[in-house]
Structures are given as structure tokens and as C-alpha cells.
């Protein structure tokens, strides 16, 4: 007898099934008849079919589940301190977290805000709980990441940069790329931003590199905190992917949405590639000290997660619904990552501008060179000399690499669309918007800014579509300004009033740390303004030269 009895069996009582519970909860909504809800989030999409919730979500089970996840996260953070994690952590890695964690809480909370947009637009209430959970999830992600950053600040050898984090996010020439990402979730056509760009592409495809690949690399560098927090964050994403897919299926039902979906899938895929691969690729490949040749490179992980998983099993099947998928874009992105060394050029750009950053960038060394050459054949010929220069010029008294003409680096134009500079030089294109000349990193970036983000798309009015705005080229903010004055204005100076927050090395010795006086005397220029000031003939000549690229001089 005792073998067949359990406490559950003794105490069990009849309850309602999860399916029944979800059904009853979905019936909480109604169509208002006294006052209509204002349609405050514009979209050009037509949505008539109510999205279904395949995950049958209810808050009763959600909150305890999340609390349990939190308990594990915070317990692990305590354990990491007890285990003296920071004694063995690699500073090269933690320094890049100053950039990463400055960026990521804003896109996260933007995603929470965007749930208001899809929640209002989705007919019916079936998916309301899903959107609610995602809203609270994103609130979780944003504040749990701020907490992690605070934790690093309190326990890591050099807290400078963490201590100004959200201010730095609004100002730095690198975080501007992250703002394009986060603002993309909440501005413009509500479906383009909150559904396609955020959920269907960013969350479904690119969170794998963000929240899975990054943690693996963190662990290899002695950082057990980031995996703890970010794998917990990633565990929420499957629900979000479900929300996005369900909305997508509703929109597919309307043939007149298909052109817009084609446009938005194209824009979102390309821009996610340009932004996420730039940032995460750099963190993973250049923030690590682990050069195990058996581990996957960023490009290899990208092929597995983005190409095989996302492109083949998520994007391709959309064709059967009549959505044109741009296969060439995926292939082009892949080639940029492999043949054209996109990530390496981004890392090089970040390093060149180190003095206007708020974290330390250490030089790559022999051990790194070998690994890069093994994983990315041809890497050393293009980047080896540069990193030797970088190491050489990391000592005070040398001329800042940004202005050192011995090196041979040519400062790049900024892409008006993705805000990553035009680093694959041969691909630069220009076009005009409202009579003003702009530079773009690739034809697809030009298409995004000029054709997709416009009031009309292929003859169809798109009045809800957003516009690119603001002083998008960071460099124009400090055109003709001395770098030292710019750094001071940015607030990237330590509290002694002279030592830079950023340093081109990991030497934690005051004598080695660069100050404003070490960088003063060099004037920043906006490549775009300079280009605009040229005669048409000079401009063409300049661009032809630009497309040829540059050669780094040998470093002896």
C-alpha cells in the first residue's frame, strides 16, 4: 500500500487545466463601447486575426518561477564572491563589460515599453498574458543587469567606467551603436519596431550570440557572474520568441502585409547583423584571453545559430507564406564575418578610438595572433602590425594612435544607418536624404535609411514608418575640437580631474595611466562634414581612395 501512496495523491484535488486557465484569462478583455482606446502607436500593417498563445501562459505560475530563477542568480553571485572570483578574473574581459553593460539595460527596458505597443495593436486578448510576462521580464533584465554592473563596480580592481555607466551610454562613440539598437524597438511603425525588429529578429536570432555565446566566453575568463545572470535572462527568451512568432503568423494572414514584412525582415536582419555582430563579435573575440583552438570562433557560432538555426529553420519557411526572403543578404553577412573580417575591423576601430572611451582596451599579443590566424586565415597580414603598433603606442609619451600618422590607419566614415563606421572600405556608398549627403557602410544600409525609413515604400504610402534623426554621426559633435577638450566634455576623466577613464593597457599603476595632457593637441574632425565640404570632383577622388583601403605600416 505505502508504495502507491504519495503526498500528492493524498492531498490532490480537482483543478482546472492550464489550457482552461489560459482560455478563461484570455476572456478578460472586451471591446470598449463607451470610450474607444486611442490608437497611439501607428502602424501601416493590417492586423485582423487575433494572435494565439501556444504557450498557455498564466501569471500564477510565472511569478514563482521567476522568483526561483532570481534566487539562483543572486545565490550564485554571493557564491562567486565567497569563491574570490575577482582574484582570478581576466581584466581584459571585465573591461569590455563596461561597454556591454552600459548598452544592454536600455534595449532591455525598451523591449518592456514596446509590449505596450504590440499589446494595444494585437486584436483579442489571447496573447495579453504573454505580452505582460514579457514586459515584466524585460523590467527584470534591465534591473538585474544594472545590479550585475554595480556588483562588478564594487568588486573589480578598476571601477572607473562602471561608475559613470548610464551617462557614458548617452555619450560615447561606441554606445551610439547600441542606442540605434534600443531605439529601434520603440520608435517608428509599431509592428516594424516592436514585433519584427525586436522579437522576430533580435530575440529569435541574435540573443543566442548575445546571451549564450557571451556567457560561455565569460566563464573561460574566470567570470562566473555574467553566465549566471545572462543564461537566466536567456531562459525568458523562448517565451518572447513565441510571442513574436504568434504575432507574425497573424500578420501573414493579410496579403497586403507581405510587402512590409519583406521590407522589415530585410532591414531587421541586416541591422541586427551590423550592430550585434559588431559589438558581441568584438567582446567575444577580443575580450577573451582564452585561445583554445578547439573552441568555436564567433563566425563559427554565427554559422550554427544564425545561419543554420535561424535562417534555415525560421526565415526560410516564411517563403511558403509568400514572403520574399533575401537569401543574398544572409550570404553577404556571412561573407562579411569571414572573408571581409567585419568583427576584426570593428575591434580595430574601437581600439583606435580608445582615448574617447570609458574602458581599457589591451593590445592583442602573440598568443592571440596565432589563434586569430588559425580561425580567420589571412588575419595576421591585415591586423598583426596594427596590434603591434597598438601595444607600442600604449605607453605614455607616445602619440595617441588615433592621430599617429606613422601607423597608417585611416579613420573611417560613419554609416548613417547602422552607425557602425564604413569599415569594409570597398563597400562604402553615399546618397542624399532631404538634399544632404550621407555615407553608408553597405548598399543595404543605404536602402534602409533612404528607402525603408521613408513615407513611401515601393509606391505604397507608409505614413507610420520612422525616420533616422538626431546628430547621428558622433564625430560631428566634436568637429574641430581638441581631443582633450572632447574627453573632458564627455566626462570620461577620473575624479582627479586629469587621468583618463580609458587606458590602452591593463597596467594598474598610476605612473602608466594616460592623462588629458598626454592626449592634448590633436583636433577631432568629422569625416562627413569634411566630405560635404569637398567639391564634387574631390569627393569622388576621396571616395575612390577610401574604397582602396589602407595599409598599416610595419611596426619595428
Amino acid at each position: 500500500m505505502s508504495g502507491t501512496l504519495t503526498l500528492n495523491k493524498i492531498t490532490a484535488q480537482r483543478g482546472i487545466s492550464v489550457g482552461e486557465a489560459a482560455k478563461k484569462i484570455a476572456d478578460l478583455g472586451w471591446n470598449p463601447s463607451y470610450v474607444q482606446e486611442a490608437m497611439t502607436f501607428p502602424t501601416d500593417y493590417k492586423i485582423t486575426k487575433a494572435p494565439k498563445d501556444p504557450m498557455k501562459q498564466v501569471l500564477r505560475s510565472y511569478f514563482p518561477m521567476q522568483e526561483e530563477k532570481d534566487n539562483r542568480v543572486y545565490g550564485a553571485l554571493d557564491a562567486a564572491l565567497r569563491g574570490d572570483m575577482f582574484r582570478n578574473v581576466e581584466p581584459r574581459w571585465v573591461e569590455w563589460m563596461k561597454l556591454f553593460l552600459a548598452i544592454i539595460p536600455f534595449p532591455e527596458i525598451s523591449a518592456a515599453r514596446s509590449m505596450a505597443m504590440v499589446g494595444r495593436l494585437a486584436p483579442g486578448e489571447d496573447l495579453r498574458t504573454g505580452f505582460t510576462m514579457q514586459m515584466v521580464d524585460e523590467f527584470r533584465h534591465s534591473t538585474i543587469q544594472m545590479n550585475l554592473k554595480k556588483w562588478y563596480m564594487e568588486n573589480y580592481i578598476d571601477p572607473a567606467g562602471f561608475d559613470i555607466t548610464e551617462e557614458a551610454f548617452g555619450k560615447c562613440y561606441a554606445t551610439t551603436i547600441g542606442r540605434q539598437f534600443g531605439e529601434g524597438f520603440i520608435t517608428g511603425d509599431a509592428i516594424t519596431s516592436a514585433n519584427v525588429y525586436l522579437t522576430v529578429v533580435a530575440e529569435t536570432a541574435f540573443t543566442n550570440t548575445l546571451f549564450v555565446a557571451m556567457p560561455s566566453e565569460a566563464a573561460r575568463n574566470g567570470d562566473y557572474a555574467l553566465p549566471t545572470v545572462f543564461l537566466s535572462v536567456q531562459s525568458d527568451e523562448s517565451r518572447h520568441i513565441g510571442n513574436g512568432h504568434s504575432m507574425l503568423m497573424s500578420m501573414l494572414k493579410e496579403p497586403e502585409n507581405h510587402l512590409l514584412l519583406e521590407r522589415d525582415m530585410r532591414y531587421a536582419f541586416w541591422q541586427n547583423h551590423a550592430i550585434v555582430d559588431a559589438a558581441i563579435g568584438t567582446f567575444i573575440e577580443y575580450g577573451t584571453t582564452n585561445r583554445d583552438k578547439n573552441k568555436e570562433s564567433y563566425a563559427e557560432m554565427w554559422h550554427r545559430w544564425i545561419f543554420e538555426d535561424y535562417y534555415r529553420t525560421y526565415m526560410l519557411p516564411l517563403e511558403k507564406y509568400g514572403i520574399k526572403i533575401h537569401h543574398d543578404d544572409v550570404q553577404t553577412a556571412w561573407k562579411r564575418l569571414t572573408e571581409k573580417h567585419y568583427v576584426h575591423k570593428v575591434a580595430q576601430f574601437f581600439a583606435v578610438g580608445w582615448s574617447a572611451n570609458f574602458w581599457r582596451i589591451e593590445a592583442q599579443t602573440d598568443k592571440d595572433f596565432e589563434w586569430f590566424e588559425h580561425k580567420y586565415p589571412g588575419w595576421y597580414a591585415q591586423f598583426g602590425e596594427f596590434w603591434k603598433w597598438y601595444e607600442k603606442l600604449s605607453h605614455r609619451g607616445q602619440t595617441n594612435i588615433l592621430f599617429n600618422s606613422d601607423v597608417g590607419y585611416v579613420y573611417p566614415h560613419r554609416c548613417w544607418s547602422c552607425l557602425v563606421p564604413c569599415l569594409i572600405r570597398e563597400d562604402i556608398v553615399t546618397d542624399e536624404i532631404d538634399g544632404k549627403l550621407h555615407t553608408f557602410a553597405h548598399e543595404l544600409d543605404r536602402w534602409t535609411a533612404v528607402e525603408a525609413f521613408a513615407g513611401e515604400y515601393q509606391g505604397r504610402p507608409t505614413p507610420a514608418m520612422g525616420r533616422f534623426s538626431g546628430r547621428r554621426e558622433w564625430e560631428s559633435v566634436y568637429h574641430n575640437v581638441d581631443i582633450a577638450d572632447a574627453i573632458k566634455d564627455l566626462g570620461f576623466v577620473r575624479t582627479d580631474g586629469k587621468t583618463l577613464v580609458a587606458q590602452p593597457h591593463l597596467r594598474f599603476d598610476q605612473k602608466e595611466m594616460w592623462t588629458l595632457d598626454d592626449v592634448r593637441g590633436h583636433i577631432l574632425k568629422s569625416p562627413l562634414q569634411t566630405l560635404r565640404e569637398m567639391s564634387p570632383a574631390d569627393r569622388e577622388k576621396h571616395l575612390a581612395e577610401y574604397r582602396k583601403g589602407f595599409t598599416i605600416n610595419p611596426c619595428n
Binding site: V35, P42, Q66, E67, P91, M153, F169, G170, G470
Partner: protein
Amino acid sequence: MTAVQTESAKSGAAGSAVFPDSDSRKYRYFEPRSKRATHYEDVTVDVQPDPERYLLQDWIIAFPNGKGAYTKDNTAALSSNWHAFRAPDQEWERTHYQRQSRIEAMVQAVIANGRKSGAPKSFDKAWIKILQNHLGAWKHAEFGLGTSLMQAQRYGYTQMINNATLTNSSYKLRLSQDITLYLAEIGMDIPGFDDAAGKRAWLEDKGWQGTREAIESIMGSPDYLEQYFATNIVFEPLVGELFRSGFLMQVASSNGDFITPPVISSAEADYERNLANTIDLMHLLVTDNQHAAHNKKLFQGWVNKHVALANKAAAGLQPIWSQPHSKPVQYADARAQSVERIKKILGELGLTLPKE
């Protein structure tokens, strides 16, 4: 391939070297409200930036009308410093999940234990009808406020405002689901319990139409702050607390129901927190050194509009007080208490309750 190996620090731990700012272990870009920043402030303040703090390049994507992601004109209220607000409940993700999870555990334990002892079967018959029809209708009011606040949390000018609105929405949506599942579960134990009656009452019953109109008016407002204000400053004291505390909580036990009060009680505790947050924000605005008069006038207009709707809603619900067999509390007493409550709330803000 040759490059000089850089010398790395031996330890990455705090204190293992001394250099400028090696001891800078506090976020130093915002002014804490008190001497030291709270944990809530550290994880909340300035995560949502704006051109004043610190978008050097302004918003870089705009809506077709040229406006950026967040603008001050999403509300008619004005502030000389939107960034000053800090939510008194200091909620961030961890405290939010802890609280919500505790409530869910409490509610489920109460329902399970009540059902185990057969309690729903011994509820008074008239009371069962009240739960079925009126608590059943009320869950839609809570849901409407939850969705309205979910909408509102997109629009505030700072992270502090939007996160307080977000948690308020989360509390309301949890409550609406708790009530839904509670009724469905006790409904299984009560023969003839009609789970769909509540929605019918909400949509069709004359007594509920005033409440529905008041809720839809809040949901339909394009001003996010009006939604937040109307919910917590007006609707909750005049209708929410009136029905929950002034009726359900006080009448249930004398009609044999010991389950409903604890299920509903969490809402009252939620409201205390949300009210504190709302009053603090509105107080900043009515004492603003530049815009106090404007805001006071605006808020008085919102009070006038939503009090009229809430009064109509409360009057519509009055007959419910006479439906139970046991009537330990009169509508007039409950109503007097809720009028007293709103007077106190409005008094904090220097606003007045319009005469009926």
C-alpha cells in the same frame, strides 16, 4: 609574429592596486534622493536616457512627426525636473518577483485549503450569486486598469515613472487573473456556478455600466499621466476600495465565505504602494517651482472628470450591498469612508473633491 607581452595585474579584485578612482565604487552620475543611493536608485535611475541626460546626439530615430522615443508632451502636465521622482516602494525586479510570488503562494494556499475543507459549498446561496456575478464582473475592471497602465508605462519621461507604472500594471493584471482562477476553481465545487455570468454582468448589467464607463475612460485617455492619476487618485478610492474593502472584505465572512477576503486583500496592499508612488509623483508636480499652478489646474480638471465618472460607477454598484443575506455593512457607511479617503488623498495634493 612578434609582439611584446603586456604585463597584466596579478589579481582583478578590488583593492589589489591603488590608482586614481580605484576606490570609485558608487554610480556617480546622479544625485541620490537621500545621502546614499538606494539599491532601487542604482538599478533604475537614468537607464532611460533623454537629451537632457545624456543623449549627446539627441534621439537618433524619430516617429514620422519628428518626435523621438520619449518626449515630455506625452502628458499635459509640466515639470521643471521630471527626473526628480523616486518611487517610494523602491521596486525593482527582485523585490517585485518576491512580492508577487508571495501573494500567489498565499492566494493559492488559501483557495486550496478552503476547497479541501469544502468551504465553497457552505457559502451562503445569495453570496455565491454575488461572487459569480459581481466579483466576476469586477475582474474585468481590474484587467482594464492593468492594460491601461501597461499602455501608460510606454510614455513617461523617466525610467522611475515608467517602472512604477509598469509594476502597477503587473499588480493589476495579476489580481484580475487571481480572481478569474479563484472563481473558476470554487465554481467546480459549487453546482450550477456560471463562470461566464461575470462577463455578461460587466457588459450588460445596468449596475456595472457606470464602472465600465469609468474604466474605459481611463483606458481611452491618450495622456499617460492622466491614466495613472485617474486610476490611483480617483478610481481606486472611490470605486476600487469601496467595492473590495467596503463590500467584499467586510461582507464575505458573515455569509460563510472566508476565502474571498484573503484573495482580495492583496489588492489593498498593492494599492497602498501604488498610491504612495502616485501621490509622491503628483506632489512633486503640484509643488513644482515653475509649473505648480498649471499642474494643479490640470489635475483638478482630471479630478472633476474622473470623480464624476467614479461617483456614477459607485452609485451603480449600490444595490449590490443589499443583495447578501447577511448585511454587516451599509453602502452609505462604506461610501462615506471612501469619500473621506479621497478627500485625504486630494488634500495631500491641494486638490478638492467636487460636490455631487
